[in-house]
Symmetry: D2
Subunit: 347 residues, 4 copies
């Protein structure tokens, strides 16, 4: 892996980093960001299925000239930090082994996102490292920044929950959502959210020129949204849809408010909540983001239309599901944990 | 236009038909259906912008070997029925001229859909034939079949309202929608819904790989939905979205019900309402249509997921915006008016 | 499979038909055409992988309300004719078993297309029914119609060779191609040409917004093109490309001619060759087909631009790879074999 | 335009830069690259049609927070260099006015690419600044680097000619192309190559799921390819095709060689020609680039398959039509003219 020497670092790295599961969509993007990060040294990028291949053959555009290796948990590379992009279930034992070596872990799976073990098991089955269950810090950076600073095990949120909670939480916190009327989140995602594994459902001929709803009232990201928004199960209705595009999530969220007089007052609530947040962009009332605004970025954009008379707000939140919705946020948290500028390599 | 002689009619036609505005998406499809209809003779297909061109050069797939002509209202072809596919505003005076000749008119514009003239003018400006305002029969066939049988001027519904009202009306009629909680319709449409005229908004580079919301809380199809569903303005929230595909509308509708015990009870409400309807297809509870099921058909498909405990129903309605959402329904109504089998040439 | 009784036949069927491999793209389309064919009765549609499912669940648009069954070669349904849509290798033994029962077989695989067994084995491996090797009639209808009339085993051509040979063969036959200068065929295909099986190469995220060349100078359809065009290996260069679309093949073919004076003379050669052919459409010189003209049809469209001074001809041939390039042509041949009108159910 | 002060420059800029025509696809990308260039100060971005709008509203992803202004040729901003992204015809007089102020001009139109005025006029009509005709240096950097160093007026090549000449020229220079057999270039481009102006031809519904050939034997980029490759008119056949994607050009080029013994010998010819070229990437024999490898980059990638026996070479060249094919190469040349590192802001 001599090519690793070519990484364009700026002086001594702040940490040596391992990316596990680097042949999947989120892992590969994480490896790409780390590779181009001036203060993180990419020591190894691993993949069970594609070990021996070069990452820039699988993802030419990312231009990471690194040979994928297999991760041997009995012979873990000498690193200070790791990003683990494994499927749920498989991630937990790997995280545990890395933690046992004192390595800071930023996990991209669902394994450490939930605090209620019954709920975890209902959606994901048996947990792979029960002793560690619940010890992760939930990595929605804007909401949990202080806890994340000292985190040793960070659970990167799911792609849908990131946008949903960034859009909903300020309204809950300001107590202006009329929760009794229910909140609806109609979410649409590009296909990369389903991962790289070949399947009939994500084959070109199934998806192209098509559009479909799935996971109606039983999507496994819902418990994660509830846990972090404070909403109860009956107060929140979520539908996922599959867009015939590669990347991006757009969520249209319907909320009845109370005591909001003007659109600018609603904007003020968001502005206060996200004052100085570098990766959340707010739009003037009446304007909403489209996917193009956020694809291949690490931003979450939020806009809304508000009708004071009926107190109806329609909020649109958009992000790149692999960026702010996964790998971008993983690096944002790693920056935070390591004391680096939070958006380094992300803008 | 000697090629017209080649139309494959089955015996004497029931009516001679004119299609006005046949170079646009809905007009061209209407001409295509009429051409292949065994009992309707396509006497003329007209177009201001493309007169002199053959329709099968503009739309090779439709295989209608007819030269487009210009419509001269002082010299209207000898027909018994007409489909008018003009933009709103321009349609009304043409409809009036045709009606003055005793020609049955099926209009595809918004000009005769609304009953409240203030509302019409707010959304569409001055009406082009005020004397006729309000005299059209609203052509949502399944809801107004009896009135349509004797109609001389039929107003084909908008694409969004067709699916929305087919999905919502049975719940209102059965009085099981909790209207106080509000109904949300999150609608997604293919680009052909915007018409054929070149514009930056519908150019390939703007739309491809993108997804965007538009018309938030101010879409001109909303008054049409309210008028025919019985819902009040504050009870119904509608958002349109632009899908990066050619054809199809899918609407995800959120309703709180009351007094519905089981999913099958909700299905029973739909089944009763649409008993023997040939162009509405209902799905078993838990299954919902995707766009592929309805593209290039004249069906509207409806499915839902229902949670009895919280009385939440998520209903998905899908149709081809040019088929059941426009030209298909226009011919369905023309069949009805002329006493032909309602689905002739539509299945 | 009681629903089969609902097939809309016109009087007594001319033949009872089995479609084997009906869950793949070509088999499903073949079943769809047979189902809507007024003189062919679809007795069974079989599928190893999807037996027990209804075909209209896999392909709602085709509207074939038939339950897929498993084909038991020891208990073959009572049919007179079969379309076999299996992968190469697997097709031959099935064809043999069906032939042993006296059933007319129209095969969609490569197993009976080639006449040279060495060439077959080089590209496809061991043959599954060596005794029958070479006994099929090549089913490029326009070229081999007379032989096909009496065929018991018909080998439907590959999708690329159909368009290529329809475009090239008239020039070879008229001896106006300067073969010493070489003929280039630059072919572009939609993804359905690769079949329905899930694979990374045909996953949505790989294909969308991408375009790639493959099979450069080693595509297995080349021997088939050579065999039926009369060209030698060094006289013909073929490149396949994958388009980010579902259906359609467009081939751009470069030929140096000799002794052709005017574009109309070149057209005359095609017109004579394809006089009265219902499924080959010729364009006036200077006009060429696009994919839209042929998608979801059974036509092959051919147009060209010709420069008399340099004797360069650029020919564009387009077809639907599943239609004229596969299932459509299979039914065309079955019609022929059974003495039915050749284009019945195909226009 | 106070926001311009926010441009992230690295010390004193090497030049103050104007981008004229910054609302079109190439101009906007040029403005984006200049904005993010550490040594070029973006003093003004101008647009006739969109003056007054902010560039980051038209192109959110580019994140250039600059208000578009109108260019007044009587009051030209104080700059040392300009990129002009006007249509042909309109570009020349603007270039002349800028040159009259001593401003270095990198032009993106066709106005200064050709050396033969008859040929220019045949394809583009009357020239807008006849005195300057022929005074531009052709900006295919890899071929004309030395002349470009001192250029005051640089003519950025067309998108198709850039890839074509980069692929062909080394073979001509090495005298291993058998020109008597003719060279075929089958080119496929994304829609952005047609510019941003709304038109029916580039509307979403025309292009999506479609594929078409155009400009057969009469594309205006051909004279540019001939002029810079040394090929004669009858030695080179070019066909353009429109891909249903946004960005990228892929050209499949067919050449008969002479005296080339092995694939590696052909590679050696390219390697020698492009030794140390930072923006041309060569592939090992048998591998060819796809569009994904080059989209949103400034590279031109070249790969090939070669058959020594028949001396047939199939070469695939790919680039981003807006990157190396337009704006990227414009900045590459500006870097060169201004004595900056040639790839600064381009990797």
């Amino acid at each position: 892996m001599s090519d690793l020497s070519a990484q364009p670092l700026d002086g001594d790295p702040a940490a040596r980093v391992l990316v596990a599961g680097a042949s999947g969509f989120t892992g590969a993007l994480a490896a790409q960001i780390v590779w181009h990060h001036p203060k993180l040294e990419l020591v190894a990028a691993t993949s069970r299925s594609d070990a021996g291949k070069r990452l820039d053959r699988l993802y030419p555009r990312y231009r990471v000239p690194v040979e994928l290796t297999e991760l041997d948990l009995d012979d873990i590379p000498d690193v200070e930090a790791a990003i683990v992009a494994y499927p749920h279930g498989a991630a937990a034992p790997t995280d545990a082994a890395l933690r046992a070596q004192g390595i800071v872990v930023v996990d991209l799976s669902a394994d450490f996102r939930l605090r209620d073990r019954d709920i975890y098991e209902r959606w994901y089955g048996a947990h792979g490292a029960p002793d560690l269950f619940g010890t992760g810090v939930y990595g929605l950076t804007e909401l949990y920044r202080e806890q994340l600073r000292g985190a040793q095990l960070c659970a990167t949120p799911g792609c849908y929950p990131t946008a949903a909670n960034l859009a909903i939480r300020p309204l809950i916190a300001a107590q202006i959502a009329d929760r009794s009327r229910g909140i609806v989140c109609d979410a649409k995602s590009g296909v990369s959210g389903a991962g790289r594994k070949a399947s009939l459902q994500t084959s070109f001929c199934e998806v192209t020129a098509n559009f479909s709803a799935y996971g109606l009232m039983e999507h496994r990201h819902v418990p994660e949204i509830l846990q972090n928004s404070g909403l109860g199960e009956r107060e929140f209705t979520f539908t996922a849809h599959l867009l015939p595009i590669d990347r991006g999530i757009l969520e249209t969220i319907y909320v009845r408010t109370q005591r909001v007089e003007r659109p600018l007052d609603l904007l003020a609530i968001y502005e206060e909540y996200y004052a100085d947040e570098p990766l959340v962009r707010l739009y003037a009332p009446g304007r909403v983001p489209d996917l193009r605004a956020v694809q291949r970025t690490n931003f979450c954009d939020i806009g809304f239309v508000f009708d004071p008379e009926s107190q109806r707000a329609v909020i649109v939140a958009a992000e790149d599901n692999l960026g702010k919705g996964a790998a971008g946020q993983a690096v944002q948290n790693m920056n935070l944990v390591l004391g680096l500028p939070e958006t380094q390599a992300l803008l």
